[in-house]
């Protein structure tokens, strides 16, 4: 069970039971819908910007504890950050996921998201953990281009 505990850390189960920012807002600058085709997990995610600053990340979705908690943790983490900071955090998270269990993650950058480090040992679950992050990337690019046009 040790390896499994590594995957399902307390933080993950907490976020799964009490997801943060899981309530779509109506005045998002951009909103996207992403699907994990291999299992059917879905997330709808909205972003509000003020200049380069992330005012809100709000979402709704159905899925496993990994996809839901990852999205929840991410939303907590990114709200209030600049888009540039978000990009650094996202990149760091992506690297952690691809590390095949060889990294613990940089807690100063990723904060609670390091709890997802164990996912990197389960290749089939990496897509779950990334679902919300990919949606955020997509939504923020759309929001930005809407603002600048």
């Amino acid at each position: 069970m040790m390896q499994l505990d590594n995957l399902y850390q307390e933080v993950i189960l907490d976020h799964y039971k009490n997801p943060q920012n899981k309530k779509l807002e109506s005045d998002n600058d951009a909103q996207v819908h992403h699907i994990n085709p291999s299992c059917g997990d879905e997330v709808t995610l909205g972003v509000k910007l003020e200049g380069e600053k992330i005012l809100s990340v709000n979402w709704d979705g159905v899925g496993c504890s990994i996809s839901q908690s990852s999205t929840s943790i991410m939303s907590d983490l990114l709200i209030g950050k600049s888009l540039e900071e978000a990009a650094v955090i996202s990149e760091s998270f992506l690297q952690l996921m691809q590390s095949k269990g060889s990294q613990d993650g940089d807690e100063t950058v990723l904060e609670d998201a390091v709890a997802l480090a164990g996912v990197s040992k389960y290749p089939a679950r990496i897509k779950c953990a990334l679902l919300g992050w990919m949606a955020f990337k997509d939504a923020s690019v759309q929001a930005l281009s809407k603002k600048t046009n």
Binding site: M1, Q3, L4, L7, Y8, L13, S38, C39, G40, D41, E42, V62, G63, C64, S65, I66, S67, Y122, R125, C128
Partner: protein, 414 residues
């Protein structure tokens, strides 16, 4: 020979390995792909070690032997499903077999009985695997034919109440699964086939989940085409079967074109060999045909009826256990009538992915997700399920392990 899964398991080398820190392998994912007995592995190996050559093409001894093995495999498949030898076509998979039919129909010129045009109808069901849905969506889009379908009710059964308005005089093709890979439902073929033939439509049976598990006779079923995959029937990967009635194969245009399927070729055109070669372009999957023949031989030696009876016994056992396992909810028929050994379910708030992951940590392999039948999942109101699928090598202990695993998961995710 009395049926003993413990004896059977000894033929399957994979059961000698362990999972995640030394756990016994409890393989409940045969609906996705089955494990292989040593006999099948040996048949492929023998082909490569002793007889490997391109079939049909060489005048040398190896080519003769390879041809004998390959064509012998065709005989074995034909006998297994009650077909004539020249009606059996080897493909790479059931997916290719279904695409073959759909594309070949798309190639049928005006005047050919398989030609489709706007106004014609193609009928499927809501419980089809994507492999028996998307090729027809595409064919409909290419030809202008209309795609319609039988719906599935909340018991996981086809709703045939409106059969006359679904299969109409315009229907040219009815393609459906024999047994649902998600629900385990075995479909009532007779009524559908009668209606289809009444209006002159051909009936295609996706037998991926039935041929490996029960005795099938294509002539008795009175169907027109049948497909299945070797890898779900203790056979190798990379081989599938496409069967069609002789006179239909004669009328059906080819799909893949190239070597060995021709009669004559010039720079500007070509004519075709008779079936089955018309449908087998290129150097075929010869070693895999040898393996499939060994697989069928293996199943026949044990006996399809014994295998089926064993699976029903385990299915009944699991259905009974599951009935008391709240909050478990079976997605599909809750009784053994007209159902096979695929049992999909949800378990309260524990997402199938998480449940599957937990079971995996106990050495139990199940499948989670939409099982390539996304529209069915949506219809049943579940984004995903966990599926246990049974086969000849499974035991009551496997079923008990699953039940125990689910209970432990409940504690774990609390």
């Amino acid at each position: 020979m009395s049926f003993d899964p413990l004896v059977i398991r000894r033929d399957f080398p994979i059961f000698s390995r362990t999972i995640r820190d030394g756990k016994r392998l409890v393989y409940l994912d045969s609906g996705a792909t089955s494990q292989k007995p040593q006999q099948v592995i040996d048949a492929e190996v023998d082909f490569y070690r002793l007889h490997n050559a391109a079939v049909h093409r060489g005048a040398h001894q190896l080519a003769e032997e390879a041809t004998d093995i390959y064509e012998g495999a065709r005989d074995i498949v034909a006998e297994f499903i009650g077909a004539d030898r020249d009606e059996v076509v080897f493909t790479k998979s059931a997916t290719e077999s279904l695409n073959l039919i759909a594309y070949a129909m798309g190639n049928a010129p005006l005047g050919n009985r398989f030609h489709l045009s706007p106004g014609d109808g193609i009928v499927v069901t809501e419980m089809e695997h994507h492999a028996n849905l998307i090729p027809w969506q595409q064919l409909a889009a290419r030809t202008g034919a209309a795609l319609s379908w039988f719906e599935v009710n909340q018991d996981g059964r086809l709703d045939l109440s409106n059969i006359e308005s679904i299969i109409t005089e315009n229907t040219k093709v009815v393609s459906l699964t024999h047994q649902s890979n998600v629900l385990g439902t075995i479909n009532p073929l007779k009524e559908i086939i009668n209606r289809a033939h009444q209006v002159g439509a051909v009936v295609i049976l996706d037998a991926c989940q039935s041929v490996p598990h029960m005795k099938i006779d294509v002539k008795e079923l009175d169907i027109d085409f049948l497909v299945f995959s070797g890898h779900k029937a203790v056979g190798p990967t990379g081989i599938g079967v496409f069967w069609g009635r002789a006179e239909l194969l004669e009328a059906l245009p080819p799909f893949l074109t190239g070597g060995s399927m021709i009669e004559n070729v010039t720079m500007t055109g070509a004519t075709w060999a008779p079936a089955p070669r018309k449908f087998e372009a290129g150097v075929p999957n010869m070693a895999q045909a040898a393996g499939l023949a060994a697989a069928i031989h293996y199943l026949q030696e044990i006996g399809m009826d014994s295998i089926h009876a064993h699976e029903l016994k385990l299915t009944q056992y699991l259905l009974d256990k599951f009935a008391d396992l709240a909050p478990l909810k079976i997605v599909g028929p809750k009784t053994i009538e007209a159902r096979g050994g695929s049992i999909s379910f949800t378990f309260g708030d524990i997402h199938p992915h998480d449940l599957g992951q937990f079971l995996d940590s106990q050495g139990i392999a199940v499948r989670t997700g939409h099982h390539c039948a996304w529209p069915l999942n949506r219809k049943m109101g579940v984004p995903a399920t966990t599926r246990a699928s049974l086969y000849l090598y499974n035991t009551i202990e496997d079923c008990d392990a699953l039940v125990a695993g689910i209970l432990d998961a409940k504690k774990y995710f609390g």
